[in-house]
Amino acid sequence: MEQLAQQLVNGLALGSIYALIALGYTMVYGIIQLINFAHGDVYMVGAYVGYFCMVHLKLGFVESLVIAMAVCTVLGVVIERVAYKPLRKSTRIAVLITAIGVSLLLEYTMMFFVGADTRTYGVLPPFMEQSFQFGGVLVSMKQIIIVGISVLLMVVLQYIVRRTKIGKAMRAVSQDADAARLMGISVDNTISFTFAIGSALAGAAGVLVGVYYNAINPLMGLLPGLKAFVAAVFGGIGLIPGALLGGYFIGASETLVAGYWSSLYTDAVVFAILILVLVFKPTGLLGKNVREKV
């Protein structure tokens, strides 16, 4: 029982990170139906910016987090404007290949400058190294920070999407871009804004992971990126609550599989669950079936 609780706490922290990345995936997919494979690498860049701020500029955790988010925001918008916008009218598969190109470009440009070797965030402020015992379950301050910041960001996101003008524009464009354009919404700006928000969240996830595991490298974005995408599909791609659900579900199932069976099979189980979900509920757990007009 204690072990189960401990595994779930671990899963919660991991799930928060997946959820943060999955949000960016799902929003971008929702608005331009692109599987943005470069998204995991934006997360990697966020982790490196955080590293640079904390280790070289000796900034605090919060400042570093904000700077990383800001840099990633700019990066996300630049990627969208330079690489994806010219392809707005092309097939989706062409854009996908471009996304893969951007992903490789980010990975290897980063590797060119910092090398392939792992970097560490070094010694963290003492308050972050604390941990607490709750009846046999160990909860570290870092886990609390990760979950806390993730939840805070998700609340902010929800506010932006539900309550602000730009959020409404985002929803309108994802429903029907042409209709939104007729209503006077600048579709291009809305798409850029979506990339900006998604990238900021990925940047935050990067710094949180750097702090949590204290290890970053230029290829770190590939696997979490893939899994976050799985999370997004799992919950129902294009849906913000779906990304949250998917992120936490995958975090929890990974830790449980590793804890009770074998960590050899965590990824296999995650993908198997995904295939089953797709077969029985193709639009994801929260997705609605969309009827094609005949």
Partner: protein
């Protein structure tokens, strides 16, 4: 009619045999040196991979991100069988077994998932390939992460030629047949295809399984040439590499796939002297090509899945009435 059949057969086989003989002689004379032979081998494998994925993604319109999984099945079958029965029959048996197993997995995975819409199939196939890789990494008989070696090398220019040309011709024959046109109809408009009596699920699963079969064959070619196979070689990035060839050449253009396989080999060779920035240049090239030529090298015409280049058809139609090559 008889005459034109003979003429067509000659036009098909003469250049093929000539290519085979010329390359064979050049290899003997060492004008095509060892390095070019390896590169040629890579190209042949990539042609079969790309052609088979093109059948699934380009012709049938089913977006697959898991082709490396089929390749892995073929590679491991060929390796295991030919390591046990170290003879050309062991090699061919393993190759065939690999293709059949890959097709079987393709069938089993395709049957439930091919009902899904575009991107979901991509993710389901990605998941399938990852599961295959993880299983290979953990099975005892596949020797885990260390992989299998030494795989007996049976692939030489003759086998490469036979298997590559054979695979491409079989795929091409399939596409230009009743079943192939059904598959193309599915890509063009699934609902309309159903409405005229095409069993779309059957068509998709068939194309998927055939693509998987040839993916497996390509894997076997790989295993029997490169001595060593490891699960990590068949990861997500391998699937992406294959997809890049297909898209670069043009979705729904077999000749595009062939050309793109050559082009990427040339690009790779040109980039080799720049080890530090090789991947950066490759990534930039990929982005630039997609921005300026999103439809792939062979452009709209081939992309639009004409069975023959448009002008060719016109001319032939004019020359011989109902004749179509």
């Amino acid at each position: 009619m008889k005459n034109s059949l003979v003429r067509q057969a000659l036009m098909l086989w003469l250049p093929l045999v000539a290519t085979y003989v010329i390359v064979l002689l050049l290899v003997q004379a060492n004008i095509i040196d060892a390095y070019m032979q390896v590169t040629l081998a890579t190209i042949c494998i990539n042609i079969v991979l790309a052609a088979s994925l093109n059948l699934i993604t380009g012709f049938t319109g089913q977006f697959s991100l898991g082709h490396a999984g089929f390749m892995a099945i073929g590679a491991y079958s060929t390796a295991l069988v030919s390591m046990r029965w170290d003879s050309v029959f062991g090699f061919l048996g393993g190759l065939l077994l690999g293709g059949v197993l890959a097709a079987l997995v393709g069938f089993l995975i395709g049957l439930p998932t091919l009902r899904l819409r575009g991107d979901y199939i991509a993710i389901a196939t990605l998941g399938m390939a990852e599961i295959i890789r993880i299983l290979l990494q953990n099975f005892e008989f596949t020797n885990g992460a260390a992989g299998l070696s030494p795989v007996p090398q049976y692939m030489d220019w003759t086998w490469f030629f036979i298997l590559t040309v054979g695979s491409v011709m079989l795929i091409s024959n399939f596409i230009r047949s009743r079943q192939g046109r059904d598959a193309i109809a599915v890509r063009e408009d699934e609902i309309a295809a159903e409405s005229i009596g095409v069993n779309t699920t059957r068509s998709k699963v068939l194309a998927f399984a055939i693509g998987a079969f040839f993916g497996g064959i390509a894997g076997g070619m790989y295993a029997s040439y490169f001595y060593v196979i490891k699960p990590e070689q068949f990861g997500f990035l391998k699937s992406v590499d294959i997809l890049v060839i297909v898209v670069l050449g043009g979705l729904g253009s077999l000749s595009g796939s062939v050309i793109a396989a050559f082009l990427l080999a040339i690009i790779s060779t040109l980039l080799q002297p720049f080890p530090g920035v090789r991947m950066i240049l490759y990534a930039l090239l990929l982005i630039i090509i997609m921005i300026f030529r999103p439809q792939g090298l062979l452009g709209n015409r081939e992309l639009s899945l004409r069975l023959l280049p448009r002008f060719g058809r016109r001319r032939e139609a004019a020359a011989s009435g109902t004749e179509e090559a």
